[in-house]
Amino acid sequence: MTAALETRSLCKSFGALTVAEQIDFRLDRGARHALIGPNGAGKTTFINMLTGRLDPTTGQILLGGEDITDLGQSQRVKRGLGRTFQINTLFRNVSVVDNVAFAVAEREGFAWRMFRPASRYREVLDESMALIETLGLAGDARRSVAGLPYGKQRLVEIAIALGLRPRVLLLDEPAAGVPSMESDRILDVLDALPKEIAILIIEHDMDLVFRFAQRITVLTQGAVLAEGTPAEIAANDDVRKVYLGERHG
């Protein structure tokens, strides 16, 4: 079966510094896959290459079998690639519902329209509200994002990505900076996401990773160190060395 997302020999160098080296990666349809690794392993760089924020030096990226390596960010999003950011990247001074509506309107191709008031696009508003309700943010829909607690802002990140109706969703540390009580809420939200969406999550919270993922890829120094089920990764000596140091290997 064609993978939802695949990379072939993906490399990225900044001059003499290589940050991604021959990454072969496969994300199956409907998969729950985690990408882990120590700080500086190249995880966010990898995500940035997948989404088109960074151009790979060499290699190929395929979305549903289609080569998207040379496509821009917006074209990749149109083909069903959604993402969230490690650090909240929201429209801070607009309402929660507008944050999501911007995404829905882009997906539907309404955002070029200049004369009919935005509030008359009921379908955009209704879908945005429905998404916000699903994520438990209905009470905050009209509040400015800047005034929300950090955990809720992380949920808005996810809501925006879902507003694009992605086939593949890349979540860059969705629980980063969130208190443990709220990270459970984020995990609940992730668990409830539609099964047809393939999800790749980058996360440092190992508890969340091992509860969520069916497969895990470990990245170190820009290269894939190991890949397997959570049990296989937990039992992998190389992975333990990376995380705990040589003496614990």
């Binding site: 924020r53 074209q75 950011f85 990247t89 001074n93 070029w112």
Partner: protein, 324 residues
């Protein structure tokens, strides 16, 4: 008084939004000797609206908007000298010429951001100024372009020496521009511009063609600036190099900041306060009038980041809190 648009904003025109138009009509009857100044204020309102569209909503910082104003002004002037003084045709030609120039320059400069963009906008207006200065057979060079006649509007309404027709003409054109910009701000297009201003990175991540969208907004903005320039040429029957100067771009920026950026009506309040203050101060203190304007700007930047309308917003919010 903020007009951010968006999907939950109520697009209906509120009663208070008719205030500038009522005031403008009252001015027509109550201050007939100030009609030329009034016409100039209205022209600068259109010009400020054009800047607000790209700066206030799109987040594009430019110091070269006078290039488009000047191209509109010279197009209308050259058309009147060489072909016809028909005002609506001149207005259309000025708008289209500035819009096309905005499209071409926008395609180039909007690939950059920040300081590079700012410098490029400055470079464009400086180039236009120098070209107009050298092309004397078309523009009149440093002497300016005059000696043309603007025909009656629709063949009926003649421009008079008291500036009555010019004022009403400017008022109607400003009304049309306000309606257009307001409509745009409240549309999905306006909402997406707000998105670009708020977070460019996120707009890319939701699949927005940010560059193209900014180019379109910039083109519309340039066209509006050109329209304002053409209007100035027609109402004064003269066009000089000043319309292409960097100083004009700077003044416009000051007016908009004074009124409040990204609020639509900041583009009304700013030029009004600035030009009326300039008129008054220049009479009272011919040598130091800019001191007053400078003081006003410093106070606004230090204490009222939202401009004069921002102060009104804060005051209204406090009164509401006090009442409840």
């Amino acid at each position: 008084m903020t007009h951010s648009g968006g999907y939950i904003a109520d697009p209906r025109i509120r009663a208070v939004e008719w205030l500038p138009w009522v005031a403008a009509v009252i001015c027509y009857f109550a201050a007939p000797s100030y009609l030329p100044l009034g016409s100039y204020v209205l022209i600068m309102v259109i010009f400020a609206l054009s800047l607000d569209l790209v700066l206030g909503y799109g987040g594009v910082i430019t110091l070269g908007h006078s290039a488009y104003f000047g191209i509109g002004a010279y197009t209308a002037g050259i058309l009147a000298v060489r072909l016809t003084g028909e005002p609506l045709l001149g207005l259309l030609a000025g708008t289209v010429a500035a819009g096309l120039f905005g499209l071409v320059t926008g395609l180039v400069i909007l690939r950059t951001r920040g300081l590079a963009l700012l410098m490029l906008t400055l470079a464009i207006t400086s180039l236009c100024l120098e070209i107009a200065n050298k092309a004397t057979s078309w523009t009149g060079g440093a002497d300016g372009l005059g000696g043309f006649t603007v025909q009656p509007i629709l063949g009926i309404f003649k421009f008079d020496m008291f500036g009555k027709t010019a004022y009403l003409y400017c008022l109607l054109v400003t009304l049309a521009c306000w309606w257009l910009v307001r409509r745009m701000v409240y549309s999905p297009f306006g909402a997406s511009l707000t998105g670009v201003r708020e977070n460019n990175v996120r707009m890319h991540a939701v699949g927005a063609p940010v560059y193209l969208r900014l180019v379109v907004a910039y083109t519309i903005s340039a066209a509006l600036a050109g329209l304002a320039g053409a209007l100035l040429t027609q109402t004064t029957q003269f066009v000089g190099l000043k319309v292409l100067g960097f100083e004009l771009s700077g003044e416009l920026m000051v007016m908009l900041i004074l009124g409040g950026v990204g609020r639509i009506y900041g583009a009304f309040v700013g030029p009004l306060i600035y030009l009326v203050a300039q008129d008054y101060l220049a009479k009272q203190f011919p040598e130091y009038w800019y001191f007053g304007i400078g003081t006003m700007l410093v106070l606004v930047v230090m204490f009222a980041r939202g401009g004069l309308l921002g102060i009104v917003d804060i005051a209204v919010a406090r009164v509401r809190r006090w009442l409840t």
